[in-house]
Symmetry: C2
Subunit: 97 residues, 2 copies
């Protein structure tokens, strides 16, 4: 799958508007995308979703999922890290009405 059609956007440490722009660009091509984040970036993912919703009237949220993943840390122990998935869907425009 090429970079132009990816429907999952991983939220990390870049400036928030980077992700907002990327998400809106993808949503001009695709009917829906999913914002994913883990750990402290979860707060950023929520903010990115809110910016997308408040700036435009053409998107709505799907069912938000939270989970946790088990990672091997550098000291060899297992660590659980929380994750979030926020689906953002394009509201289909009524054509011809």
């Amino acid at each position: 799958m090429s970079n132009n059609t990816k429907d999952i956007i991983f939220i990390g440490k870049k400036p928030l508007m980077t992700y907002v722009t990327a998400a809106i660009l993808q949503l001009s091509i695709l009917p829906s995308i999913t914002l994913k984040a883990r750990g402290l970036s979860i707060s950023s993912a929520v903010t990115v979703a809110q910016i997308i919703l408040k700036r435009t009237n053409t998107f709505k949220l799907g069912d938000i999922k939270i989970d946790s993943e088990s990672l091997d840390s550098l000291d060899g122990k297992k660590r659980n890290v929380s994750t979030i998935e926020i689906p953002v869907n394009r509201i289909e425009q009524q054509v011809g009405n």
Copy 2:
């Protein structure tokens, strides 16, 4: 409403297990509670919810909501802060089956 029957737990900067313990205590009295957080504490709220779910088999999540609030900051400007609400419900036990 007394402290013993509050159904909303605000997640802040205390150690996570403080909120986990408070939530499980409330869920022994009430059928459901809601974890609320804003800003960077959103990640903590997700982790608290995950700890509650993974340690026990008696709770399930409701529909997670995200939103944003407008706050007046100290410099007089408006600032938007993201919020999350995570409902945690007790799974009703089948009695006598």
